[in-house]
Amino acid sequence: MEKFSHITSTIVPIKVENVDTDQIIPARFLKATTRDGFGENLFRDWRFHPDGSKKEDFILNDDQIAGQVLVAGKNFGSGSSREHAAWAIADYGFRVVVSSFFADIFKNNALNNGVLPVQVSQEFLNELFASFEQDHATEVTVNLEQQEIENKATGSKEQFEINTYKKYCLTNGYDDIDYLMSLETEIKAFEETIDYL
């Protein structure tokens, strides 16, 4: 997994609440057997017409707007557990998703793929949307070590939460599985105690 320390980037705002994983990556694009290439179909049906032509009014199709930080309305990533949603976001080039609320499974999936979910207050989120409206070049800085996000346009800062373990993993680029495999002895010992299976 790619390491994460801090990032300063322009933002890509999607001012919609309850963005579910069916919107992030529709089910018909889940037929691949590798993790690659899902970015192509990120937000597929918001981004493209059925004939494959671009929907010009969707933000990802605006050539003037780009960035590594996706900003979305509250309850981002609800619905299906498909990790393909996190793969699509990472593959497209986002390293951070900012929202005022994340669905649980999505949060885990994002963290397992080096994408940092940053949960902020509704006020901070609204201000960030407003800053972008005023100036599309608005930047944010996300500092994992300090657990802090800053709206560079206004100077507003906010702390965000992440547990010590996940922070350590992201900072060092470690996967959960590396850690779990190091526990082989403990897991075997635990299995010795099971009598119900």
């Binding site: 069916d22 691949a32 590798t34 990790e83 959960d176 897991i187």
Partner: protein, 467 residues
Amino acid sequence: MAGKTLFDKIWDSHVVKSVNDGPDVLYIDRHFIHEVTSPQAFAGIEQRGRTVSRPSQTIATADHNVPTKDQHLPIKDALSRKQVEKLTENCERHGVDLYGLNHPYQGIVHVIGPELGITRPGITIVCGDSHTSTHGAFGAIAFGIGTSEVEQVLATQCILQPKPKKMRITVDGELADGVEAKDLILYIISRLSMSGGNGYFVEYAGSAIRSLSMEGRMTVCNMSIEMGARGGMIAPDEITFDYLEGKEFMARGTEFEQLKKQWLALHTDPDAVFDKEVTFDAADISPMITYGTNPGMGVKIDEPIPAETNFADVSERNTFSKSLQYMGLEASERLLGKPVDYVFIGSCTNARIEDLRAVAKIVEGRRKSDSIRAYIVPGSKQVEKQAMEEGLDQIFAASGFELRQPGCSACLGMNEDKVPKGAYCVSTSNRNFEGRQGPGSRTFLASPQTAAATALTGVITDIRSLN
């Protein structure tokens, strides 16, 4: 010391180790896999030079992506075929039991686990599918995971998971005629919203829950994720034990009796404390239907869609308007009598034998409306077989319904069973998201009874008013 909740009892007994200010290392007893969310996990462990650590604890089936017609023929769609073949190869290579296409146990993963007696009280179950919460109906901790986590379980039989908070939802009283488990859960979600359960694991309790059959309880637990909850569970009781007795992989005789004794301890202690408690009165629940693009946007079927003025919050009002625009509906509009194009009876929420029986009872001796395309997709080969033994297939055929073969089908539109752009579908599935049943499809979630009644009349129909 305060007592423990059912959730705590099971969770705590499965913690191999707690990581300081981090997640727990949770031991997983049973792991279900399917073709869509497992190939990358197998590839991952192989890249690390590992094999599946406890193959007997993983069970596979092909469901999400399979056709529901002509299953004996090679799958036409090349990508789907490759995915299903990949599952077969992976299972063979790693010694995992696979109930693939044409196997008598094949079916939707959350239907086959319980019907085979693999699902049982007191255990931990995960699957790369959010509706894994279904298995909680047996008093198990069951939840959906991502593919990286599937890989963790394949490699180590453990998962790293933060312990969720606990919520109890109590529903007391009796459900009225025409009101089913599906209405009960749609009602709860409409009251708590699609994110009201976020961060929580739910225990359902109360007399209305206790009186549900196992299949009804599965429908309720299945949709826990639709309010954002990590999972849902119900304490096991005689109804649970009766269901499990004699199932294919369930212990028998004295061994089963022994298990029952252990399972009786699986309940929340009277003095246990939940982080949140919610109560509902069963008498307040009517047949429900959704009008919007998330499962929390539901109303009693004889009530109008809310007015815009019901949403004080600007962003909520925007979400509401955006949903109605997608659905081609107006605020304050009544849904009863609205023409629909498709009826889908299926999915891990409502494709069990009781669901099919309920539909058959309504449609027997009647014809479906000519304007409706109606799919009935059984949850498993065993459900299909049972339906045929009971002659339900004949009833469906005589009424103009198509009984297809088992799979997830039009619930998520991964295979060719899709609802076309702009068409309306009354569906017994679990999600009404934009494009869920096919690009541009418009979904009304409802119970099997409501779906059957609607198929007969061609318009959204209150089962209580069907003559």
